[in-house]
Amino acid sequence: MADASSSTRGDLRIVDVTKSFGDFTAVDDLTLTIPEGSFFALLGPSGCGKTTTLRMIAGLEEPTQGSIHIGNTDITHTRPYQRPVNTVFQNYALFPHLSIFENIAFGLRRRGIKDVKEAVDKVLNLVELPHLAQRKPVQLSGGQQQRIALARAIVNRPALLLLDEPLGALDLKLRRQMQIELKWIQTEVGITFVHVTHDQEEAMTMADTIAVMNEGKVEQMGTPADLYDNPKTAFVANFLGQSNLIEGRIDGNDGDNFVVDVFGQKIKINKNRSHAKDSSVLAGVRPEKIRIQPAGTAMSGNVLTGGVISDASYIGVSTQYQVEMPWKQELMVFEQNDEGGQPLEKGDAVTLSWEPVFTFALDGREDAFAGSEVHADEQ
């Protein structure tokens, strides 16, 4: 029996893993290293292969090809119960016939540990539910069950804790609270957390590192800020938050910047932030980075003129504008309501501007809408 508490430790390495179900390739030649002690998120729309990846790490599915390692131990073909890995299941999968205490003690007892009381009490205190030890799962609320599922997993001190959409069944307010709590618990226990979710906000709040998955492959991996500020693909740009992607051509150089021609107007993009393969690019900028002024105002940085507001919605902290550009594309602009003065209205002619450092460039042959539809489906 695996001694989860000591023997197998280290980084999780997924090497060239492919998983096919018949003709369908759920995970396509995935290679990934998850450092020990990190809070790692696999983010993507449903069907992107993230849950299959998680199940292969847990041992509930076997890879068609490739191998999975923890530290120096190859765990690819070991049974789930032989792995130093525990899972917080979607919908929790608590044992309905056992008390909360026995649910949490289940893993300890299977490993032949006789004196479970201290460990169980400690973890019940950690999730702040010591008074529920003798209840049955059905007597608990969704949020409480969620914490018990977490306690049942971490009490075993696994090398790796897997969380499969753990907050999906909770309401928004509770979800926010649990995000902060999960992050705190992870820091407290120091176990590697691998978190699967389709909720980009959840991933960004909790994870140190996010891998964005799409169609069985990792599109991009990095810190939340990295992914948000410097996406490498249109899918990441659209799936993580919202982006304006404008077709353009690289027209020349200006020091560290490319000069890009977008429908006759020139903007600058830092060369480090360009992922273009040739001169054809999609110039990207996040809606909240754009400043909006009445036409004719002198502005610095990247400036686009000729816009007309086609829609303005006031939503408290900000106003969201849709601006129709001369080339018939609608650009999104989120403006903080922190300046007062005359609000801009539908039909006003405007000029848009933003700092060149906020611009990124993607390969011009990409679908500018990749990742935006799936988003709308799931949220």
């Binding site: 847990a58 509930l60 919908n91 999968a93 044992f95 016939h97 893993g107 299977r110 490993r111 075993n156």
Partner: protein, 297 residues
């Protein structure tokens, strides 16, 4: 004011109508049960303490409140009484042993054949109980396949037969009540969230421990329902013993049947019926208490 008053009384009469509705819905069932269960039971109770009339006519009895009828009836038939419970117990255990893997297979491993297999479980009900039991006699008989195979591999000798034996009665009952065991077992296994089994594996339980610690406890409602649905009718059964048994395999059902219809000894038959009912009731109550599955049902 008058208008308000009128409206008020209308509301209250509506309320009255509504409170009557549950009773109206229950009425057909209550009338049915009263006519075909309560009255006959009361009649049976009355009969059980009667004694033969003085003139000695067969089948003619008068009420003398002789409760000793119960003791006499029981002492005369102790053997059949205990045999009924032993056979019913054996048939229940056998049916459970056969039905559990079957129901487990249908619930978790049958894939697209699930519905077909369920139909097959129920299929025997399309022929009569009596016919199936007679067919069982053929299957176990001298010309049947079972005896040929068992003799072929020398499990039984050439002179041993299977029919007209306790073996035939118990296996016949097992067969006849198998669907009653399988269906509730299937229903409760089917309800188990497969993720709880995955969770057990995730928490260091191997396949056998998962089965013992998770699957079996969670299927207990089905086990209890199935064993009751098998044991209760099996304990009162007389068809299997009549068709597949011999004079030494008589069950209490056979005694009651012959007392009622052949000897026309109504008081003894009635007293035996009551004793059987009471014994089953007590056993079932103890069993349910012990199983303690209330909160899972």
């Amino acid at each position: 004011m008058a208008f308000l008053h009128a409206a008020g009384s209308k509301v209250s009469s509506l309320k009255e109508k509504r409170s009557l509705l549950p009773y109206l819905l229950l009425a057909p069932g209550i009338i049915w049960l009263f006519t075909f269960f309560v009255l006959p039971i009361a009649n049976l109770a009355r009969t059980s303490t009667q004694t033969p009339t003085a003139n000695g006519d067969t089948g003619s009895y008068e009420q003398t409140y002789r409760f000793a009828n119960y003791i006499d009836a029981f002492l005369e038939n102790k053997e059949q009484f205990s045999r009924s419970f032993i056979y019913a117990f054996l048939a229940t255990v056998l049916a459970l042993a056969i039905a559990y893997p079957l129901a487990y297979g249908i619930a978790f491993k049958s894939g697209k054949y699930k519905n077909l297999l369920l139909v097959l479980v129920v299929a025997p009900f399309f022929t009569s109980f009596l016919l199936r039991t007679i067919a069982w006699k053929q299957i176990l008989g001298e010309e049947g396949p079972v005896i040929a195979i068992l003799r072929g591999i020398h499990i039984i000798g050439d002179n041993t037969s299977l029919t007209a034996s306790a073996f035939a009665v118990v296996t016949g009952m097992t067969y006849n009540f198998l669907p009653f065991m399988t269906l509730p077992l299937y229903a409760s296994l089917e309800r188990i969230d497969p993720r709880t089994m995955e969770a057990a594996g995730d928490l260091y339980a191997n396949a056998f421990t998962t089965f013992r610690k998770v699957t079996v406890p969670l299927s207990m409602p089905g086990v209890v329902a199935g064993t009751l649905l098998t044991f209760i009718p099996a304990a009162g059964d007389y068809v299997n013993a009549a068709i597949l048994g011999n004079p030494n395999t008589k069950m209490l059902g056979n005694v009651i049947e012959s007392r009622f219809f052949k000897i026309v000894d109504y008081p003894t038959a009635a007293a035996l019926s009551f004793t059987l009912m009471a014994a089953i009731l007590i056993l079932v109550t103890i069993y349910i208490r012990k199983a303690g599955t209330e909160e899972l049902v």
